[in-house]
């Protein structure tokens, strides 16, 4: 398609929240690319990490995962991953990491790229892969890595108190580490201010996700995945609060008017999705499921950023409590309870369990979690295996057939009940 033809394509008018998201992202990246000029450092961090401490200390957080998502969604995964495999990395490592290392070799990206790091913060409440990936990047520049180690939030109450104590100790170490690197004293008053923004935006983000309670639901998981971006990279800022306030207003209006992702009479299946999305099949899946009256409403993944910070507590304590208890760091039993809560609150009647080769941290729980959820809900599950970003592991026909067969099963079950 020529440039002229491209420009002739009618542009969809952006909503207020979309315009806001665009501006926030542009401002953020502009500042990040000028970080050193502004006397600031770039800290690479994991999407689930106590970034509030970075924000309070004027470290600009950059998330290589987000950049990877942009490339994987644009179907650059196979190309970039292959480059990394030629460096000696195996094809079954995380596609975020492989595509990122490929980007660093080739410069290929669908965005303007991301600035180079000065330091790293790896929080393993999300996964162990990110720690190892950051170590690879750190070796290239001989840069410091701080590992915020969050032991699994096991069910024993006393152990949990000890885990939190250990995490608080580490947050103090993180602050000392940042003070040493930047030669600046950490400002706890500023942290309190950042926590207020973070608590409020998290509350609003959760309110946005909970729009999935309405029938028909005005929100699908695809809205949630787009909507979560600002929560990931701008937590702790006033613009993040403003964005989610606007987003909530827009979706509340839809809910009040009865506008759903699918019209009320077409919304047959309200689905749960386990795992990250298949990024390069994002819109195809929405269309395919919609054609069967299915809409994926939620997943534990999108809820990972609906923190519940308690501003009456010491900020380090509430940070530790929230980050250590994310779904990805919880026991299988707790994960099942978290999913069951969504099944009940959103009246879900189907589930798609994605075995994502890239994400061992989430996927290795899937077979057992599926058994538990099927038993507790009585709802059959669709399980399929693929990769979130590497198209070479995606079998179009096989997955389409399985989705079709799954809806036939749900239809049959529903007609029996009827």
């Amino acid at each position: 398609m020529s440039e002229t033809q491209k420009s002739e394509k009618p542009k969809k008018e952006l909503t207020k929240s979309q315009m806001l998201s665009k501006k926030i992202t542009e401002d953020y990246m502009n500042e990040a690319f000028r970080a050193h000029e502004l006397g600031k450092l770039i800290g690479y961090t994991t999407a689930i990490s106590p970034v509030e401490i970075f924000v309070a200390h004027d470290i600009i957080p950059i998330y290589p995962e987000n950049h990877a998502v942009a490339n994987l969604t644009a179907k650059k995964g196979a190309q970039l991953c292959a480059v990394t495999e030629n460096l000696g990395y195996t094809s079954h490592l995380c596609a975020y990491a492989r595509s990122d290392l490929g980007y660093r070799e080739t410069g290929i990206t669908v965005t303007r790229g991301i600035p180079e790091p000065d330091l790293f913060l790896a929080c393993n409440a999300q996964c162990f892969t990110l720690t190892k990936w950051f170590q690879v990047l750190a070796r290239r520049g001989n840069l410091p890595v701080f590992v915020f180690d969050t032991p699994e939030y096991i069910m024993d109450k006393k152990a949990r108190q000890e885990i939190i104590k250990y995490c608080v100790l580490q947050l103090k170490e993180l602050i000392s580490f940042l003070e040493e690197v930047t030669k600046r004293k950490f400002d706890y008053d500023r942290l309190n201010e950042v926590m207020k923004y973070s608590a409020e935006s998290s509350r609003l983000y959760k309110k946005f996700l909970d729009m999935a309670q309405y029938k028909p639901s005005p929100i699908s998981i695809f809205d949630a995945l787009i909507g979560m971006a600002i929560a990931v990279y701008r937590r702790g800022t006033p613009e993040c609060v403003e964005y989610y306030r606007t987003l909530c207003e827009e979706f509340q209006e839809k809910a009040d008017k009865g506008i759903g992702v699918l019209p009320k009479d077409k919304e047959k299946y309200r689905l749960y999705w386990e795992n990250l999305p298949v990024w390069f099949k994002f819109s195809d899946h929405a269309k395919l499921l919609g054609s069967y009256g299915g809409v994926i409403l939620t997943s534990l993944y999108v809820h990972a950023w609906s923190f519940e910070f308690d501003l009456n507590k010491d900020p380090l304590l509430t940070l530790a409590e929230n980050y250590v208890s994310r779904f990805s760091n919880s026991t299988l039993e707790d994960r099942a309870d978290m999913a069951m809560d969504l099944f009940k609150r959103y009246s879900l009647n189907g589930m798609i369990m994605f075995m994502n080769r890239s994400c061992k941290a989430v996927s290795f729980a899937v077979p057992t979690l599926k058994d538990v959820l099927v038993k507790r809900t009585g709802i059959p599950a669709l399980v399929f295996e693929s990769d979130m970003g590497d198209q070479r592991f995606y079998s179009e026909t096989q997955i389409r057939t399985r989705i079709e067969a799954y809806f036939e099963t749900l239809d049959r079950l529903q007609s029996k009940v009827a």
Binding site: A97, K132, R139, E152, L332
Partner: protein
């Protein structure tokens, strides 16, 4: 049962120690606690009067594990899960499972759900060791394990119970170290397969009995340098199946140093006895050699292997890669480049639990060492 074993018997038993463990447990009426690698303080389990048994995979076919852990999961994790789901689960009264990576974290959960009636505890090892909080956390975890095991068994242990166990386990490691030191200089007297079988069996059977065998074996060793041996460093986590050691023996490689959890990293676990036993076990944890999932110093792996190569005047480094071990796979390309830049010959062997045919490993290994001997590398 294990107090008067010959080297040959040790090698045989290492292939499948479980029938003998079953027999011993029946005779002694003791409880058995299994743990996966690495770093569970087995002295604590022993001090309670239980038999600690390290689970280091099985060569029996996979039947149930693949439906729980997919084929891109670490092959040791799948093999261990199979070992308990299909073969030896009923032998154990409980398990203490360490968590060091995503796979071991999930493995603990899956394991617990499958054995709801057995004692289950996690050992949440810190995945950073260079900051003061790591030391604090190891101590907390050891104390939590003592409390948890006490609650389950209804027993209490004293510092003196712990010290007695530490004494016994330290003796085991000292004996292994002495035999290793002898073997390094006398590869003709003790093969790689024999020596590493001694270590592996030490991790699985009663030390009070097995130390007697170790002592007798050590006393019977006669110097024999042998001819044509090439000294090498073995790096990695575990080395299985045991026939891989047989390959090294076949082409006359003498392992003079290693970084294996089922090798030096186990022998390094001697607990200092001049202090409180828990503090001593914390010291031990902090001072052990590199283990990829828990060490945050990204250069330590390289530095340790390079030092072992130089100190021992070795001729090459062999790296045992366990198929689908994510931690190793992130480290390996850089490690390979760094060692090659130093001019250290480096050979990677891709191994998988349940593998029966080693012909491809043999061919590659032979080719590597032929070219090394010919000076082409």
């Amino acid at each position: 049962m294990w107090e008067n074993l010959s080297l040959k018997e040790v090698v045989e038993l290492t292939k499948d120690p479980f029938p003998s463990i079953r027999k011993w447990v029946k005779e002694k009426g003791k409880k058995v606690i299994g743990s996966t690698i690495p770093d569970v303080p087995e002295e604590v389990i022993h001090a309670f009067g239980f038999l600690p048994v390290s689970l280091i995979g099985t060569d029996k076919p996979l039947k149930k594990a693949p439906s729980r852990l997919p084929d891109n999961a670490c092959s040791l994790a799948r093999s261990n899960l199979e070992l308990v789901l299909s073969y030896e689960g009923d032998l154990f009264d409980g398990f203490v499972l360490p968590q060091v990576c995503d796979t071991t974290q999930h493995l603990s959960d899956i394991w617990r759900i499958h054995f709801p009636n057995k004692y289950m505890e996690c050992f949440l090892a810190p995945r950073q060791v260079d900051r003061p909080s790591a030391r604090y956390w190891v101590k907390e975890e050891i104390e939590r394990l003592i409390e948890s095991m006490g609650n389950w068994s209804g027993k209490k242990i004293s510092n003196s119970d712990l010290m007695n166990s530490i004494n016994l386990f330290n003796e085991n490691k000292r004996l292994l170290k002495e035999i290793y030191d002898f073997k390094k200089k006398n590869p003709g007297a003790l093969s790689n397969k024999e020596f590493f079988s001694l270590v592996k069996l030490s991790m699985q059977v009663d030390k009070e009995e097995f130390n007697k065998s170790l002592k007798a074996i050590k006393d019977q060793l006669k110097p024999q340098k042998g001819e044509g041996y090439l000294d090498v460093v073995l790096a990695g986590i575990t080395c299985d199946p045991p026939e891989v050691y047989g390959l090294f023996d076949e082409i006359k490689l003498n392992i003079v140093a290693d970084t294996l959890v089922t090798g030096t990293r186990y022998i390094q676990g001697i607990v200092p006895q001049d202090k409180d036993p828990v503090e001593g076990m914390v010291d031990r944890h902090m001072n052990r050699g590199f283990f990829s999932p828990i060490h945050d110093n990204v250069y330590r792996n390289f530095e340790e292997i390079k030092a072992l190569y130089k100190e021992n005047n070795a001729k090459a480094v062999i790296y045992i890669h366990i198929e689908f071990c994510e931690s190793q796979e992130y480290d390996l390309p850089d490690l390979k480049n760094m060692l090659r830049k130093e001019g250290i010959p480096f050979h990677v062997m891709d191994t998988e639990y349940q593998t029966l045919s080693l012909s491809h490993l043999r061919t590659r290994l032979q080719a590597f060492f032929e070219s090394l001997k010919g000076g082409a590398l």
